[in-house]
């Protein structure tokens, strides 16, 4: 049963991921990512991370992806320009990436890292991965990290406003690619 759930989730997540990369229109890519995240949340559940699965759906597939959809709709579904300045990257990149995958897979499966070949302890404490347990950890052991994260979010929000906000000067007068790059 667990295996079936895992493979369904894995196929869905992988399919979504490939669709994100392959689809030409960014708008569709965003929707593919939503599908990917929904399946990924299922896999999270298999790993006994109920709270994070819910957070992934609500925060990610919900809020963040809406942001993406808005921006994709705002800038429009632009076709990729035909002229490619470095076509060799299209070849080298995927080959190197697949090589990395192979290397990591050897490390995980093929090598003697026997510690990885386990299903994890069976006597997981009750409430593993529930909001209550994670919340306790976050407010007791990791309070400083939590506060730092909240400050980071605030900074990011301010940065986004500064970056995307309207300037007083006429943007046409600025040299091309002046400040934003």
């Amino acid at each position: 049963m667990e295996q079936i759930a895992f493979f369904c989730g894995a196929i869905g997540a992988l399919g979504g991921a490939i669709a994100v990369v392959a689809l030409k229109n960014p708008f569709y890519s965003v929707l593919a990512l939503v599908i990917h995240l929904v399946f990924l949340a299922g896999i999270f559940l298999l790993l006994m991370a109920q709270f994070l699965a819910a957070a992934l759906i609500v925060v990610y597939a919900g809020a963040v992806m809406v942001l993406y959809v808005f921006v994709a709709a705002y800038v429009g579904g632009i076709e990729e320009p035909r002229w490619d300045s470095s076509p060799e990257l299209k070849l080298i990149g995927p080959i190197a990436a697949i090589a990395l995958f192979v290397a990591i897979s050897i490390a995980i499966v093929g090598s003697g890292l026997s510690a990885l070949s386990t299903t994890g302890p069976d006597d997981i404490p009750a409430g593993f991965g529930t909001p209550e347990a994670v919340g306790h950890l976050m407010m007791e052991d990791f309070l400083i990290a939590f506060e730092a994260a909240s400050i980071l979010l605030l900074l990011a929000a301010v940065a986004a406003i500064v970056l995307a906000g309207r300037r007083r000067e006429d943007p046409n007068k600025l040299p091309k690619g002046g400040e934003s790059s």
């Binding site: 991370a49 470095s86 990436a97 994670v134 950890l137």
Partner: protein, 99 residues
């Protein structure tokens, strides 16, 4: 269910995201691919957390989600700023850093 499976899936998702970052040129899609890579990392963390029976990894994933959200906000802000300035939405066009 063996932990190795989850890790291999994580590596696979990471590779797909990486290929996307290298191949695609639309900044919005590049950001999406970065999300893919981050979620692959989160998956690996969760797998280890399950393996050790320790929930610290889950808190770590939560922090990763926060960082990802920050990155999205700033990245999309950049995209909007580029659009406002009538710049072509192509990362190859921005190469002022060329040495």
């Amino acid at each position: 269910m063996n932990i190795e499976w989850f890790l291999v899936l994580s590596a696979l998702l990471f590779t797909v995201g990486l290929i996307g970052v290298i191949v695609r040129r639309n900044p919005v899609v590049i950001l999406l691919c970065l999300e893919l890579m981050l979620s692959a990392g989160a998956l690996a963390l969760l797998a280890f957390s399950r393996m050790l029976g320790n929930q610290d990894g889950q808190v770590f994933v939560l922090i990763v989600l926060v960082v990802a959200a920050c990155e999205v906000v700033v990245g999309l802000g950049l995209v909007v700023a580029m659009y406002r300035r009538r710049l072509p939405l192509d990362v190859d066009e921005m190469k002022e850093l060329k040495g």
